[in-house]
């Protein structure tokens, strides 16, 4: 187990490092000039040259990368061009907002999607299940910005009971959470349904049923137990994806999280901020993945991490 953990941590660090290095190169290959984005209207060539020199943008790619690595190992990810503050601090300021939204959305997703998926599995191929299926497909097909704008129009304008944007009160969490969760619910409930249908048709369930085990126990203990790993994996993956920034939803609802920060960083070609965002979100994503892996043996005693790995 300890060896497994050490190896997984090593892999995680390598993953984050490679991601960061790839992003470092890609953002510099993309069109655009951070100096021009920074310099305000109608800058002179001298202004641009001065800014490039100040931020080391006048150096070659390899030289920039070397400096980046040197600073990275001292925990310095540079100063954000647009915020004039340490890039890592700017990102860390935003992370709690994204974690709050993601946790809230994934919790709502699990609370609705898992029972819904089970309900659909138990009524597989009936007209009622067909209706639920149509709803989940619709939910999966609607773009998040459209759902967001509809919810805003309904609950912030027509019946103004919830804040339209930002996170000044807890009420501000409701609409973005629901928007993110609707898409995830559709996905997860269909997955739960598929897994449960397969599990409920498995021989061990048939045997248990013949022994007189109740439907409730069959569903929630026997079948759900076997379906838990793929469902947990899917929930974890979705959660990790949300931590990378629910960009559209954050922009629509003025949510001060990492997603809206990424948009701004990209618009201004703020290299240090882009890199800091990638570092933090990639680290969070691999951490979530690691936690999910560690949870597997708890859900399925046949899984032995040390040996399996």
């Amino acid at each position: 187990m300890t060896r497994y953990l050490i190896r997984r941590l090593g892999q995680s660090v390598l993953t984050v490092f490679l991601t960061l290095s790839t992003v470092f190169v890609l953002v510099r290959m993309a069109p655009g000039d951070p100096a021009a984005a920074l310099a305000g209207p109608n800058p002179s060539s001298a202004d641009l040259a001065r800014i490039r020199e100040q931020f080391g943008l006048d150096r070659g790619l390899l030289s920039q990368y070397g400096l980046f690595l040197r600073d990275l190992f001292t925990g310095d990810l540079g100063t954000s061009y647009s915020f004039h503050a340490p890039a890592l601090d700017v990102v860390l300021d935003r992370v709690p907002y994204t974690i709050t939204l993601s946790l809230s959305a994934i919790t709502l997703t699990a609370l609705v999607a898992v029972p819904l998926g089970v309900w659909m599995a138990r009524r597989a191929d009936t007209k009622r299940e067909l209706g639920a299926n149509v709803l989940t497909i619709a939910g999966q097909s609607m773009p998040d910005f459209w759902i967001g704008v509809m919810l805003l129009t309904l609950f912030a304008v027509a019946v103004p009971v919830l804040p339209a944007s930002g996170f000044t009160t807890w009420g501000g969490l409701v609409l973005p959470t629901v928007t993110v969760a609707i898409l995830q619910m559709a996905l997860i409930s269909r997955l739960v349904r598929r897994e449960m249908v397969a599990a409920l048709a498995a021989p061990y369930v048939t045997v248990a049923r013949s022994r007189g085990v109740s439907n409730r126990v069959l569903t929630w203990r026997y079948a759900m137990g076997n379906s838990a790993i793929p469902v947990l994996t899917a929930l974890g993956t979705r959660f990790a994806a949300m931590l990378n920034g629910v960009v559209v939803v954050e922009v629509v609802f003025g949510w001060p999280g990492v997603g809206s920060l990424v948009v701004r960083a990209l618009e201004t070609r703020d290299y240090p901020l882009i890199q800091a965002t990638v570092l933090v979100t990639a680290a969070l994503a691999v951490l979530v993945q690691l936690l999910i892996d560690l949870a597997y043996p708890l859900l399925d005693p046949r899984v032995r991490l040390g040996k399996a790995a």
């Binding site: 021009a36 109608n42 300021d93 304008v157």
Partner: protein, 491 residues
């Protein structure tokens, strides 16, 4: 019905900005809406007020006492929120710090930075090498901070001489709370608390002001203004602006190229139906330009009108041997409201007179700067905007039309616009200390610029702000700013 959780509360006002207020200093971070908030915390010697006239703020005297010298006296009792007085040293330090910061465009507005000569505790002289007759307007952009705390960077601390102090700040999220400065030297504002929020998405700002969550949103696009017009509880404030949006010709065309000929440029402009663009695309939120700079600017004059006459365009282009012209139009996305729709309409208008046009749009932060400098390839017309926070014609004219051969060596002219005689006359007019003579000279040179036909078309967008009706006395200025201390709340 309005949910109580969303109301900013009695005595508090909530502002929604379209761009993040990164700092309450403005050395680098200067955009219209930010200045409204920044000036509530930090002040300058002067400000640009109603009618774009300079008004005294931290100075109670600011007058030209020689061709290259101004005498300034600090207001008696002007002090910072920490109780310390505003001093002459603070002014000289502020000038040094603005000059020392990289990437500031405030400094670019000054023909030269003045030096400070102290006279007594409150009085000093500002000296320049050449006359700078609008120095009182230029100095409105230099916010003063205590010398000991000033740095050549944006200041994160909130010590200032303004009517408000910062009680909470998160520059990362762009959210600030300002409370009344109990030590303010001037009249106490009636609004106790100002909440500033960054709401980047325009539709979200519109929804928030409709629902009462935000009290004031600014920089409204024509579409949003249409949505908000006539809604109960919401009022639109509108005034003529000081920004000009232009379809500016590329003046780096080689001799012999059709677009190097002012007559061809003029002929092309006949193809553009500016009235239709203003009416249908910009939904009446702009005026066609009638000069080379906005008429709201002090010292500007009418020099001509854009006339739509496609028959004339065809005839003249044919006479000039430019009937089969191809035109490439470039612009940065979001350069002005409804930019894409304007460009697409222009393309059709040019096509209607036989000119084949193509469009190339750049995302913000992309390569537009290199294209402007002619380093990325050829183009013919650039969608561009130019605004100046001094409110004076000469700043705008020099910025756009004061190009010289020396500047062009580094491609620092405005789209290659280099007319040595015009540049010389502009420099002469801008340094003229007698206002009447200066205005006469400026008028003459504006006509001369118009005759070079620099733009395919140009328009001046209105400045529009939306507010809840409980917010009163928002005296929206042409610079797209207002005095927060003068705002009142009802309810």
């Amino acid at each position: 019905m309005r949910g109580p959780h969303r109301c900013p509360g009695p005595g508090a006002i909530s502002l929604g900005l379209n761009r993040s207020l990164v700092s309450l200093d403005n050395k680098l971070n200067q955009f219209d809406a930010a200045v409204t908030v920044q000036r509530a915390v930090r002040q300058a010697l002067t400000r640009i007020g109603k009618g774009l006239r300079p008004e005294l703020v931290l100075a109670d005297r600011f007058e030209m006492t020689g061709p290259t010298a101004w005498t300034v006296r600090l207001r008696d009792g002007a002090r910072y929120s920490d109780g310390t007085p505003v001093t002459v040293k603070d002014v000289s330090t502020a000038l040094m710090m603005y000059a020392g910061v990289n990437g500031s465009f405030i400094v670019g507005l000054f023909p030269e930075m003045p030096t400070v000569e102290p006279v007594d505790e409150r009085t000093f002289r500002l000296h320049t090498k050449r006359p700078v007759p609008i120095l009182d307007q230029l100095m409105a952009n230099i916010l003063i901070s205590p010398a000991a705390r000033n740095r050549p960077e944006e200041l994160s601390g909130g010590v200032g001489s303004g009517p408000y102090v910062v009680t909470s700040a998160n520059s990362g999220t762009g959210e600030y709370t300002l409370d009344v400065n109990p030590r303010y030297w001037g009249r106490r504002p009636t609004v106790d608390r100002v909440r500033v929020r960054f709401v980047p998405e325009e539709s979200s700002r519109v929804v928030a002001v409709r629902s009462g969550e935000l009290d004031v949103i600014d920089t409204i696009t024509p579409d949003s203004a249409e949505q908000l017009k006539g809604l109960p509880g919401v009022r639109l404030d509108r005034t003529s602006g000081t920004r000009v949006n232009q379809l500016f010709f590329n003046f780096r065309k080689p001799r012999g190229h059709p677009l190097a000929d002012a007559r061809v440029r003029e002929a092309l402009s006949y193809a553009i139906d500016g009235e239709a663009l203003v009416r249908d695309v910009l939904t009446g939120s702009a005026q066609q330009a009638e000069g080379v700079i906005p008429l709201a600017l002090k010292g500007s004059v009418r020099t001509g009108r854009y006339v739509h006459d496609p028959g004339q365009a065809r005839k003249r282009l044919a006479a000039l041997g430019a009937s089969d012209l191809k035109v490439k139009i470039i612009w940065e996305s979001g350069e002005f409201p409804a930019d894409t729709s304007v460009m697409e309409a222009v393309l059709e208008m040019l096509r209607a007179v036989g000119v084949r046009a193509s469009l190339q749009q750049f995302e913000p932060g992309g390569d537009i700067q290199q294209w402007r400098q002619g380093r990325r390839g050829d183009w013919d017309v650039l969608g561009n905007g130019f605004s100046v926070p001094t409110g004076h014609a000469s700043t705008s004219l020099q910025g756009m039309y004061g190009g010289t051969a020396e500047k062009e060596k580094t491609r620092d002219t405005y789209q290659g616009y280099v007319f040595p005689k015009i540049a010389a006359r502009l420099a002469d007019a801008s340094a003229e200390t007698d206002e009447k003579t200066r205005n006469t000279k400026l008028a003459a040179v504006q006509q001369q610029i118009w005759d070079t036909r620099p733009c395919l078309w140009a328009f001046v967008p209105d400045v529009v702000l939306a507010r809840r009706t409980r917010v009163r006395d928002v005296r929206l200025l042409q610079l797209n700013s207002y005095d927060l201390a003068a705002v009142r709340l009802e309810g």
